[in-house]
């Protein structure tokens, strides 16, 4: 078929690498051969999205596809996906981010029909809302692409509860062909669990030869001596353990099974009600359990505030009146001072730095502090958090002329930041797996971790070690980072 006869063509500037061509053929072969679900697990930087787009293009040209549904975890990623499709392929036009509240399903169908669009790209949240109204059926689509599908795996803990699997409920029953794109570090065991759930699946998982191995240097954590913060963190940790033990003791006494790993779920009115009924817990016991868990949650918060430099919150809390805390708040944060030193060193070498902070408040504090201490102009330092709607345009600013990017884990998927020469991990991540993804965005460079001496030092040393092993294995090892978590 000549290019003119084809409905879909790649743009002139797009040239697939040989392994990408092979992978597209393989996906196409599986889908044509009767497989319904194809899971593709490849290392970061191998062009998973391009591969999916190319497979999509082939299916359009094969006349076996009229409408596709692309699902992604976040709106910003949907925008990026659609724009990329538009840039790279003529003939693939996607309706971007319709929402159930603004655009009923019949309108989206009409849109697809009359504008001859190749399909719809939306967030998993929008998909869930449409599904609640039973607006879409499996017959509406010939192909479903779930990009950044790593989060489909079973939730590891309560805090990371926002897993895609919750949003895609019901999709496993659809007999529509599906392509799931996952990063390589998701363990094979987990992918197999997902494949079992979806049935009639196949897995394409490989390291790609010919793709340059990314070079990372994970330095030993820089430790910052601050005996007071270490002492406070230890007290809070001890308190945390005591409360947990007390709750566990009550649960064991009352014969309640489970919940030990995620005690917080017992604060949910629905959960506690059902536990009350099943195990016949008295109102007093329930009250006692919930009071203890609330305390334990507060202790966790406090620990974060101390370790993650959230002085603003601390200064407004009653703790600010306790004499040791007053003393701690009276001097400048030693960790922030150290950060200034490290960042200055990079800037003096004309290097671009990406600073990772787990929480928005910490990212804001870092930005404010660096701006003041290094006398930065707004264009020099860019802060991007989950609160920003224009995450990618802000990131563009950093890529073009910025020196410092301060960000929470928003850029963990789908976006590369090769312009950054180094990444500084200011706070321990909630999950090392996520940090690995974040660090992977800078496409090689130095990784510097900052830790208060003592309590936090041990955690950061473990994080550094896990990152080193994960990078070593991602470039030739056999196991993913999940094996260590």
């Amino acid at each position: 078929m000549s290019a003119l006869e084809k409905k879909c063509n790649p743009s002139e500037s797009l040239e697939l690498r040989s392994y990408q061509v092979e992978l597209v053929k393989e996906i196409f072969g599986h889908l044509s051969g009767g497989k319904i679900n194809v899971f593709v697990s490849l290392p970061q930087g191998t062009g998973k999205t391009i591969i999916a787009l190319s497979a999509l293009c082939d299916l359009v040209n094969d006349n076996s596809l009229e409408s596709v549904l692309v699902l992604l975890p976040r709106k910003a990623l949907v925008d990026q996906w659609v724009d990329r499709a538009k840039e790279m392929y003529y003939g693939i036009s996607l309706l971007k981010n319709p929402t159930a509240s603004k655009m009923p399903a019949y309108e989206t169908r009409r849109w697809l029909k009359y504008l001859q669009s190749a399909g719809i790209a939306m967030t998993v949240q929008s998909f869930k809302n449409y599904m609640k109204k039973q607006s879409f059926k499996e017959q509406d689509f010939d192909l479903i692409i779930v990009d950044e599908a790593a989060d489909l795996v079973v939730a590891r803990d309560f805090i990371e509860g926002f897993r895609m699997s919750a949003y895609l409920r019901g999709l496993e029953k659809w007999r529509t062909r599906k392509i799931f794109l996952l990063p390589y570090h998701v363990s094979e065991k987990k992918i197999k669990e997902m494949m079992r759930k979806f049935g009639n699946s196949t897995l394409i998982r490989r390291q790609v030869e010919g793709v340059d191995a990314l070079q990372y240097t994970v330095k030993d954590p820089i430790t910052i001596p601050d005996p007071l913060v270490d002492q406070i963190a230890q007290v809070l940790d001890e308190k945390y353990r005591t409360i947990r033990t007390n709750v566990n003791r009550i649960l064991t006494k009352e014969g309640v099974e489970g919940f030990r790993e995620n005690l917080e779920t017992l604060l949910s009115p629905r959960t506690i009600d059902s536990v009350k009924k099943i195990y016949g817990l008295s109102e007093d016991n329930v009250q006692q359990i919930q009071t203890l868990i609330t305390k334990y949650v507060l202790v966790q918060h406090l620990k974060k505030w101390f370790l993650y430099s959230n002085r603003e919150e601390l200064a407004r809390s009653i703790l600010a009146s306790q004499y040791e805390v007053t003393q701690w708040l009276s001097h400048e944060d030693y960790k922030l001072n150290k950060l200034v030193e490290v960042v200055k060193n990079y800037i003096d070498q004309r290097k671009k730095v990406y600073i990772f902070a787990q929480y928005v408040a910490t990212a804001e504090l870092i930005t404010e502090y660096l701006t003041k201490r290094l006398n930065l102009k707004p264009r020099d330092i860019t802060i991007v958090t989950g609160l920003d709607e224009d995450q990618f345009s802000k990131l563009d600013g950093f890529k073009r002329y910025g020196s410092i990017l301060v960000s929470t884990p928003v850029f963990d998927k789908g976006t590369d930041i090769p312009q950054a020469d180094a990444i500084i991990v200011y706070t321990p991540p909630l999950s090392t797996e996520k940090l690995f993804q974040v660090v992977g965005r800078i496409r090689g460079g130095e990784v510097t971790l900052l830790a208060y001496q003592g309590y936090e030092e041990t955690i950061m040393e473990q994080v550094a070690e896990e990152l080193r092993r994960a990078f070593a294995e991602a470039t030739g090892g056999k196991f993913g980072i999940d094996s260590y978590l």
Partner: protein
């Protein structure tokens, strides 16, 4: 002149009593108190409400020359105390000179209904989405301020409201996972077609958002007071912001609940003719060791 500002007492006389015992009696003539609403809970304890409120004022009066207050959304809208030293500023203005410093005070009580979760036992809400309500508040505030300023050039103009203005120390974010869980529970509930409207309302009420009043924000643009004291949004308590020469103080909350970490708080402002200084403090025993402190107050 010393100004003590508190809010969200919820009838907790024991904490207030601790606060009062810290105040030096000899400075009484130089001191005024401001209560920015939620003095006690009318709906939960209607029989004792008036009594509790009277006790609170009586306690504060022992150490303060004058008390200015606005009712909060849990107070009676018609709360009034028969005393010339206790002034209700709800849609009223007042001019006073204490310790050589002159003040014009104006206020509005209650809270906008969008700032409250549905089903709360509130007694004083207003809907600022309705133009006549919003315009009414704005008009009353303007007239009250004009009356208070009539023939005077006060050193300070102070606005006292229960609700924050929109956009200033009014962001409601869950501080504990408990709140997050409850929010999530509601957000995840299945939407039945019939219950859709109610569900939408619920959703609006639980999403982390700004709880402040746009009507108050508009008045601020007009009046440009020197100081704005408010409460209501607990987890922003203790926040101080400055914007267009207005100093904003969220003084919530004196009661130890609902957030143990941000409760027991009060503001002290020292006003002189050349400017003012402020400190936020907590009613706690500061000399406890850190573990004892956690055990006692958490």
């Amino acid at each position: 002149m010393e100004l003590i500002a508190i809010s969200d007492i919820y009838g907790k006389l024991d904490v207030l009593s601790d606060l009062v015992s810290r105040l030096n009696k000899s400075n009484k003539d130089q001191r005024i108190a401001i209560i920015a609403g939620d003095i006690a809970l009318q709906a939960s304890d209607p029989n004792n409400y008036q009594n509790t409120v009277s006790n609170i004022f009586a306690l504060l009066s022992t150490k303060c020359r004058m008390i200015f207050y606005v009712p909060g959304e849990y107070d009676s809208k018609d709360l009034s105390i028969q005393s010339e030293n206790i002034v209700n500023l709800d849609r009223r203005g007042y001019y006073v000179e204490v310790g050589g410093i002159s003040l014009a005070l104006v206020g509005v009580g209650g809270a906008p209904n969008h700032s409250i979760r549905e089903g709360e036992p509130t007694t004083y809400l207003w809907n600022e989405q309705i133009p006549i309500v919003s315009e009414g508040i704005d008009r009353d505030l303007k007239i009250s301020l004009e009356k208070a300023m009539l023939g005077h050039r006060p050193d300070y103009v102070i606005l006292v409201t229960h609700s924050p203005p929109y956009g200033v120390a009014d962001r409601s974010t869950p501080i504990t996972l408990r709140e997050a869980i409850i929010s999530e529970e509601i957000a995840l509930e299945e939407v039945e077609p019939k219950a859709k409207e109610e569900q939408e309302k619920k959703r609006v009420a639980v999403t982390p958002r700004r709880l402040g009043s746009r009507t108050i924000r508009e008045f601020l643009k007009y009046a440009k007071p020197d100081i704005h004291i408010f409460g209501h949004v607990h987890n922003q308590g203790g926040k101080v912001e400055e914007n267009e020469s207005i100093e904003f103080f969220n003084v919530s909350h004196l009661s130890p609940m609902p957030y143990k970490l941000t409760g027991r708080k009060f503001l002290t402002l020292n006003l002189t003719s050349s400017g003012f200084t402020y400190t936020f403090d907590s009613i706690v025993n500061k000399n406890m060791t850190f573990p004892d402190f956690l055990e006692t107050y958490l």
